[in-house]
Symmetry: C2
Subunit: 467 residues, 2 copies
């Protein structure tokens, strides 16, 4: 007897055969997908015996989306850092704000990011870097666990204060020493890693300039020993290339590879300024790439060579990045940006297909997080991470090409239901795990307290006159 039975329209399975089932249905029991197929046949078994029947024949059914690059601590910073390139963006806006967080505000920011992700169909995400100041345990206990979604949470590890050039130092509130940051990551690992098959602790070495080569090697060794992941920004701006070339005589991917950071459990983020040879290193070592087109465009970082990476066999996944670099956490919108960026970059509309984009937001991302045995597709035996998208709307009509419409026309608002691990987390756009109205009432207060403490972003950034 199924717990939830979804009678849908088109099911985009992302299974190994990449089947699309018209008039399909899915049955879920004890958190697991137990049946996928034609609605007509599955109806016989499940229609009148299941606890909950979701009758969504005008919906597209997709695996829950997986966001491979999230800064939860930037949700409260939305709109606080326009018109600045990466290094100024970090050192003059983001780090001073992030360095002033209290754990209370950190929980509010985490909840805001998560509720936005749920409402736009994300069921799993990779947080790129928590530090002690934010209070990671409270974020996990009060924001992540109760939300119901899956999360791989990287904790920052660092022992230097610089970023790329020596002048650009971290805000003091974010500085930790190597011993503390490494040990706390391991502590969190032992406390939370693998919890309910929904929570994983990763290593998040800071970018070149904030970590010594010795510590990088320690991180690589420790992550391998604990069989967990590593994620870090790499080759996001040209300055990154200059830095590793000047200091180590190596290009960014060569540098990371030399330190032992490449491999199938690693997710490098952005990876814009790389050569063919570096792409080949990524492919050969099965290192994963998180592509964040919005952020790369907004900050003027550049256009990643995603179509080249896919051709050369690199596993590429999608990410939204954070509040002030996107400025949303909506992976469906990110899919469109990803689909548009490659044709522009190459002036070739054949450079990427919508199927590849959908894979980047689902099964490729599950692979990147090392959890494709439990999620990333709709197939029997996997945990039930499933979203339903209402296609009975003008902008998704006519329904001749649902994959195309998903990528080019849908957005997070079109997601109606979200199921994680067989449990409804959002039903008909109502989030069931977080009190959204209460949260929205807390957000502005928490944000303004933080802005005032940091002395940044207090006034709206506009050349127009507010009266």
């Amino acid at each position: 007897m199924a717990d939830i039975y979804i009678r849908g329209g088109w099911i985009i399975t992302l299974d190994k055969e990449r089947r699309i089932i018209k008039d399909g249905a899915v049955a879920i029991e004890d958190g697991v997908i137990i049946d996928v197929g034609k609605r007509e046949e599955l109806d016989k078994k499940h229609r009148f015996t299941s606890d909950i029947v979701l009758d969504v024949s005008r919906h597209i059914i997709l695996p829950g989306l997986i966001n491979t690059h999230v800064h939860m601590m930037q949700a409260l910073l939305r709109g606080c850092a326009n018109y600045v390139s990466l290094i100024d963006w970090l050192t003059k806006r983001i780090w001073p704000l992030q360095g002033n967080y209290t754990p209370n505000e950190a929980v509010v920011s985490a909840k805001l990011a998560i509720v936005e992700m749920i409402k736009s169909g994300t069921t799993t995400f990779l947080e790129t870097g928590l530090v002690g100041r934010y209070g990671p345990d409270r974020i996990i206990e009060e924001a992540v666990k109760p939300s119901g979604v899956r999360a791989a949470l990287a904790r920052h590890v660092m022992d230097l204060t610089g970023y790329a050039t020596q002048e650009n130092v971290l805000h003091e509130g974010l500085i930790e020493d190597g011993d503390t940051s490494l040990k706390d990551t391991i502590r969190l690992y032992h406390k939370y890693h693998g919890w309910m098959n929904k929570l994983w602790i990763w290593f998040g070495p800071r970018t070149p300039g904030a970590v010594s080569t010795t510590l990088y090697r320690e991180i690589a060794a420790k992550a391998r020993e604990l069989e967990t992941g590593i994620t870090m920004h790499l080759a996001e701006v040209r300055e990154d290339v200059e830095y590793t070339l000047k200091n180590f005589g190596k290009k960014p991917v060569e540098f990371a590879h030399w330190l032992g950071l490449t491999g199938p459990k690693t997710v490098f983020v952005h990876v814009i300024w790389v050569t063919d040879e570096e792409i080949d290193i990524l492919a050969k070592t099965k290192t994963n790439v998180s592509h964040n087109p919005c952020s790369n465009m907004k900050l003027g970082s550049g256009a990643a060579r995603i179509s080249d990476m896919l051709k050369r066999g690199v596993n590429v996944a999608l990410g939204t990045d954070g509040g002030p670099s996107n400025d949303d956490y909506d992976l469906l919108r990110e899919m469109k940006h990803a689909a548009l960026l490659q044709p522009l970059r190459t002036l070739n509309p054949k450079s990427i297909r919508v199927e590849e984009i959908i894979e980047m937001a689902t099964i490729n991302a599950a692979k990147a997080l090392g959890i494709d045995s439990i999620t990333g597709s709709i197939e029997v035996g996997k945990r039930a991470d499933i979203i339903t998208i209402d296609y009975w709307q003008p902008h998704l009509k006519p329904l001749n090409n649902p994959l195309s419409h998903l990528v080019y026309s849908a957005s997070g608002h079109d997601v109606r239901n979200v199921i994680v691990d067989g449990k409804l987390v959002m039903f008909e756009r109502k989030v069931l795990t977080i009190d959204e109205e209460k949260l929205l009432n807390e957000v502005d207060k928490a944000a303004y307290t933080l802005y005032e403490r940091a002395g940044i972003c207090i006034e709206p950034d506009t050349v127009w006159r507010i009266m």
Copy 2:
């Protein structure tokens, strides 16, 4: 006594002083804005005396958006033309489909485009080119007029069959001779131009290759005589530059200027492959540009030099283009694409500000259409074209920077109410002028009949297996 009184949150007026009014309000009477100001003060006059009070204190109030480049006849073609560059896109997909329309299907397509625009906050649009085959009178009577929105409708004028190169000829169903197409435009002009201050008939010369120089000059003269507008695609792809250079020894803007097509009542669309000198011609002649970033990216056409144009004084407005090149008609989403494209193109995040983007979707567009005396901003004396956007949502929080959130995080779904000419056209997301459910039921049938007649787009375009 006001007909409608809007008690809002932030009012982005776009008036000459570009005021933003916190806790603002707007009063409307007989279709005209009669009062704009602080809610506290306006409440005294209008709160208890108005027919309708829209209590939307958690909304941002904006002038209705104006879409300066729409192909209504491509709404039914959504998803029918991926992975092709402009010339193949036109000749192998779009023109054969458009050349097979029946007037019935044309009405359905027009309604679909319009309902999508209303639902995403567009109150005025510029259609780029109707032809006789579509039945322009029926489109106007059955789709445009009843919808309640304002529209400038260009009718195509042409006397050649080629496009850029001689091999790429128009589909026979779309071919008209110069005399017929010019006369019918003038007929439509006399029948509809100026109707209720909501409908205008423009000249829509086809792109270089489909119009002789003699006819271009006739169009320019006639449009000037009738004091109406001209809109045409220009310099969209590099082939356009090659064509005018090879055949006339002139670059595209020089070519158009030489033909008398430049001027304040002209909207050139795309305008990607242009030189500084050509931008200066546009500025000097006060010619308007419609920027369509999504379409330009998807088709791999290129990145228009919008920040350079703004710097040199060109009036730039926004447009979505059509169903298979975007693939939505959502101008709020287009704003984000426009904001992201310039930083990427220049690798400089300072290249464009959100205020400029908002102007491109409102007041600049009203100027481009020559109707800025009646719409494009919220100020006393103008017709009431107003939309309200719900900011009480996770992705628009915290509300420290509403202009930034509008551009980077909002989308058409966030629009709750749409008022055109002082009348509610959408109330709390329900479109009041078009039966949306009935239309959605008609759309697939009309689309598939059209696809089968044209022999294109019958099967979903996917490499995955549909079962």
